[in-house]
């Protein structure tokens, strides 16, 4: 595999620590040290992608900047990714490139979205991703570096740099890295990749422009309704209620209770949609009412447009009544989550 002529080569002294400093000096980092994108390591990353290095994976509609496989590989090395993680990164950017995701708005807005990646399917175990304890936290190379690669690429390739193009008011910790795996062994429902319609054996990545992270705690709940009422309240909090989409990640402890009563995922979605709501007059009083709620044809203002706007998955450690709600960056339909098969082209 030859290096594409489009990517410039920097020849520096053979000193790894000096090379890390060089990356800082070039402005290539997210504030943390990076692995220098050494030519051999980038070639190893490229070997995981069958298409030529100059293949464009994503483009930015406002600036015309394009992400090639080659540039993605360099950023993947810098993030600390192993080559076997690269197909997830490729799939994630192809998903983000679709118009409904709104690549521009979701990356530059004052709303400050972190791009959540949810990986589902056999690849989770194949590359030793973490779907358990400390699901959203540090400690796992795959989770940490795949998520990090997304941000480094946005900054280095698309120039979405804080203060220049990235106008996020307060940012979001997920902007460093926001990547989780679905926990298959504790999931009472079909896997997300199966729900999305991918063939058996095919893994998927779902990308969601998420505005933050809300820990939804309830250790005393012992019925689906009490767990879901807690979750619905979080989903309807004044700070993030909108007609946007939602991601709900149930912990094993919570989902076991829901499953014990035989609730399907569809029932859970319906319940959450019906109960995640606020009176219209309250939103009007706060200056939070938007015309998008009129399309719901309901007395109250519900989060999302329909139950289909709620993605449900399972993850986290065995112990702890802590689930998570991630609201959309978009306060309406401005960015819709997108999914892509990993490593195979289903639609071509």
């Amino acid at each position: 595999m030859t290096i594409s002529q489009a990517q410039q080569i920097h020849e520096i002294a053979d000193d790894p620590l000096a090379a890390m400093d060089y990356c800082y000096a070039q402005g290539w980092t997210d504030g943390l040290p990076v692995i220098p994108p050494e030519e051999g390591r980038v070639q190893a990353m490229l070997a995981m992608e069958g298409r030529p290095p100059e293949t464009v994976l994503a483009h930015h509609p406002a600036t015309g900047l394009e992400l090639t496989v080659h540039a993605a590989a360099a950023n993947a090395v810098m993030a600390g990714c192993l080559p076997e993680y690269f197909p997830i990164i490729v799939a994630a950017f192809e998903a983000m490139d679709r118009e409904p995701f709104n690549f521009h708005g979701s990356t530059v807005s004052t709303g400050g979205s972190g791009h959540l990646l949810i990986v589902s399917g056999p690849i989770v175990d194949e590359i030793n991703m973490n779907a358990g304890v400390n699901l959203f936290g540090p400690g796992n190379r795959a989770n940490a570096t795949i998520g990090r690669c997304i941000r480094l690429t946005l900054m280095n390739v698309f120039k979405i740099v804080p203060g220049i193009a990235d106008k996020s008011t307060q940012g979001n910790p997920g902007k460093y890295s926001f990547c989780i795996a679905e926990r298959a062994d504790k999931n009472p429902w079909p896997a997300l990749c199966e729900e999305l319609g991918y063939p058996e054996g095919v893994s998927s990545v779902t990308v969601f422009a998420g505005a933050g992270f809300c820990n939804v705690e309830n250790h005393g709940a012992n019925t689906p309704e009490t767990i879901l009422d807690t979750m619905a309240d979080a989903m309807a909090n004044y700070g993030c209620i909108s007609t946007g989409q939602s991601v709900v990640v149930f912990s094993p402890e919570h989902v076991e209770i829901i499953a014990r009563y035989g609730w399907s995922k569809a029932q859970v979605r319906e319940y959450l949609f019906e109960h995640a709501k606020r009176p219209r007059k309250d939103l009007e009083q706060l200056g939070k009412f938007e015309n998008g709620y009129n399309a719901q044809d309901r007395q109250d203002c519900h989060r999302g447009v329909s139950p289909d706007d709620i993605l449900i998955t399972v993850g986290g450690g065995d112990a702890g009544g802590h689930s998570a709600f991630i609201p959309s960056w978009s306060r309406g339909r401005g960015s819709m989550m997108q999914s892509q098969s990993i490593g195979v082209c289903i639609d071509c």
Binding site: T63, V108, K159, A165
Partner: protein
């Protein structure tokens, strides 16, 4: 900004309204589109929480800058 400059390719002028914190971002987009010196209206931030009278005051500032942008 993108919309304003794109519109101008159709032969007519556009007046782009933006607020102060977004001036750098707007100039960056203009530069990427080949118009590093593209003039646009810069207003005091924010807009979303303004009263009707405050909006009128911003509009007066915008009007003044717009005349220069359209005829200059």
């Amino acid at each position: 900004m993108h919309d304003g400059i794109t519109f101008e390719q159709m032969g007519k002028r556009a007046v782009v309204l933006c607020t102060e914190p977004f001036e750098v971002t707007a100039r960056n987009i203009a530069r990427m589109l080949g118009q590093p010196d593209y003039p646009f209206v810069i207003l005091q931030h924010p807009l979303g929480s303004l009263t009707s009278d405050e909006i009128k005051a911003r509009a007066a500032v915008a009007c003044e800058q717009a005349i220069d942008i359209l005829t200059g």
